[in-house]
């Protein structure tokens, strides 16, 4: 319990530093937000009035706390580019809330696929005595990890979308309209995200199993007459899985970024695509909010993994 509280305090501190950093980065960017909103035709008085209204003339610490209060109450400012109606800019929080489900579905589905496939493959790979199988899996994983996700996505679109016609490329349907159609479409981007990570996780599990197979308790189990199958599943696996849990945590954090590219490939209206388009149109309030969101998500995932790790392996000593 003490450990969790300690971790929680560190998490809050880390999040605070992140917020300061994200705030400062966008102070350094050249360009006047008031001017960006009003356009170049605005008069100096209009710009000055808007600067005053947005609080841009306040001293920096005050602006930071105003911004932070906004963030904590769900007010992330307004987008420069997206409009709610003719005279009203879209609120960033609304913009993100609309895109979040897509990204979360993609992340969840891919994580599920990673766990379902990597663990059996890893066990088979680590447990096998066949050098041929080991070699084949090794080459296969090396190759898989070299394929960039956008190219893999294009191949999947070509093979499954255009030739096999299992889905319509670009034919994204919202989950509100047709839930199963949505899942069906999301499955292919999720496979794209998952394939290289399955290779990485399986390889990691294999190395972990091989390390464990060399330990003393394995020899003891064998000398007591246990069969290889029993040793592998009853004795080794429990220990071998411990570092894998952390590894999957890191993978989960990476998916947050990996999906940026894959969303672009499959034309999914998620967070990643919003980030990329906002960067190209220099829609800084959106970029700032998304950066804060993604970085915080990564930190929180690591926090959860740390807690889980301790729960699974009580040997982890308190520092």
């Amino acid at each position: 319990m003490k450990y969790i509280i300690k971790k929680l305090l560190t998490l809050i501190l880390t999040l605070f530093f992140i917020s300061v950093l994200v705030f400062l980065i966008f102070q350094v960017i050249p360009g006047d937000p008031a001017l960006s909103i009003l356009g170049t035709e605005a008069t100096d008085e209009q710009v000055e009035a808007l600067r005053e209204q947005l609080g841009l003339n306040d001293p920096m610490p005050k602006r930071y706390f105003n911004w932070l209060t906004g963030v904590l109450t769900g007010d992330l400012g307004k987008s420069y580019r997206y409009q709610e109606s003719l005279n009203e800019q879209m609120a960033v929080s609304r913009l993100i809330a609309g895109k979040l489900p897509v990204t979360l579905t993609l992340a969840g589905l891919s994580l599920l696929l990673i766990i379902i496939f990597s663990i059996p493959i890893g066990i088979l790979w680590g447990g096998t005595k066949s050098r041929a199988l080991d070699g084949v899996l090794n080459v296969l994983s090396q190759f898989t990890m070299s394929v960039p996700s956008f190219f893999l996505g294009i191949i999947i679109i070509y093979v499954f979308g255009l030739i096999m016609r299992w889905f319509t490329p670009g034919g994204y349907v919202s989950y509100r309209e047709d839930f199963w159609g949505y899942i069906r479409y999301m499955l292919f981007p999720a496979i794209t995200v998952a394939v290289p990570k399955v290779a990485m996780t399986a390889k990691f599990l294999r190395n972990s199993i091989i390390t464990q197979l060399k330990s003393d308790y394995v020899r003891t189990a064998y000398s007591k007459g246990a069969r290889r199958f029993r040793v592998l599943f009853v004795h080794v696996l429990k220990n071998a899985m411990i570092p894998v849990v952390t590894f999957i945590g890191i993978i989960a954090a990476e998916i947050a970024a990996g999906s940026i590219v894959v969303e672009q490939v499959f034309g999914l209206p998620g967070i990643g695509r919003l980030l990329v388009s906002s960067i190209s149109t220099r829609d800084y309030p959106v970029v700032q909010a998304l950066m804060l969101y993604i970085v915080s998500a990564v930190v929180i995932v690591y926090f959860v993994v740390d807690i889980l790790y301790r729960y699974i392996d009580p040997r982890v000593e308190e520092q």
Partner: protein
């Protein structure tokens, strides 16, 4: 602070498990990795140099009559939506990607090595601060950090090099630092100091040669990551900008014509795969080789 510490602990275990490959499988396979990696990499270096001086066609010459011709003897990789020769553009793309990779690894590697060497050797408060920043950055997916930097300084060739260069500093610094920490207590360093060698001399003349082989693996992996990152950013349209050909932006153009001209996507795509595969096989080969020697 403590959180970061425990994070680096779990990371350490992970890299341990990663490194613990079965060593018994002799040097035969080592050579297979190393040789195939070296062959592919050398081939790409040659293609890159060729691409800088000569391409069979002008990579930007358009030809309405030859739109989407499939691979043939005159255009071995076919032509694209403007009738441009894909092979010539792939060659240019390899040169561009190679250029970006070399520059980024040079920036990240040199600054990272110096930072790692000095912080590892001296330790103390500066080391603490630098490594905390390092750990924090290390936790984040690299494409995200690249995106953040590009969003601040804008897209384009030189900005991509700068962004990826900065991005690579922490990984080099971390690895070099840990080598220096373990090496600085060794007898040869103590005797050099007794002989009156100054700190700078010890850091660069005595310790550095011992770090080289680790550094070599890191550099190879760095190339691998640089190629992937550049291609990724260019694919997203915030890396190398047209009319400069890059493997990434070719792929993003090709995606719209996937049905009519699949080769347009496959050629640059497979080029990236081979490019990356070469470096990763090479790194794996060197690593297994080193491990074999240390056993």
């Amino acid at each position: 602070m403590k959180k970061v510490k425990s994070e680096s602990r779990t990371k350490g275990q992970i890299s341990d498990a990663m490194n613990k490959k079965s060593n018994k499988k002799g040097s035969k396979r080592t050579n297979a990795y190393f040789i195939s990696g070296a062959v592919i990499t050398i081939a790409f270096v040659v293609l890159m140099l060729v691409g800088l001086i000569h391409t069979p066609y002008d990579p930007n010459a358009m030809s309405g009559a030859e739109k989407f011709s499939s691979p043939s003897l005159s255009h071995i990789m076919g032509t694209d939506n403007f009738g441009r020769d894909i092979f010539s553009r792939v060659l240019k793309g390899i040169s561009m990607t190679g250029l970006v990779a070399v520059s980024t690894v040079a920036i990240g590697g040199s600054i990272g090595t110096i930072v790692g060497a000095i912080t590892g050797y001296y330790g103390g408060i500066v080391d603490e601060i630098v490594m905390r920043i390092n750990d924090a950055l290390n936790g984040f997916p690299s494409i995200l950090i690249a995106l953040i930097i590009v969003s601040i300084i804008g897209p384009g060739k030189y900005n991509v090099i700068l962004a990826l260069g900065i991005l690579f500093i922490p990984s080099f610094a971390r690895i070099v630092r840990s080598e220096y920490i373990s090496l600085k207590e060794r007898d040869f360093v103590k005797s050099a100091r007794l002989m009156g060698a100054g700190d700078m001399r010890i850091i660069f003349r005595h310790i550095f040669p011992n770090v080289r082989s680790t550094l070599f693996v890191t550099i190879t992996i760095g190339f691998n990551n640089a190629v992937l990152a550049e291609a990724g950013l260019s694919y997203l349209g915030i890396g190398i900008q047209p009319p400069d050909a890059s493997l990434g932006n070719m792929l993003s153009d090709a995606q719209s014509y996937l049905f009519t001209a699949p080769w347009y996507a496959i050629m640059p795509g497979m080029t990236i795969v081979l490019f990356v595969l070469g470096f990763s096989l090479l790194a794996e080969g060197i690593r297994i080789k080193d491990e074999g020697e240390n056993d």
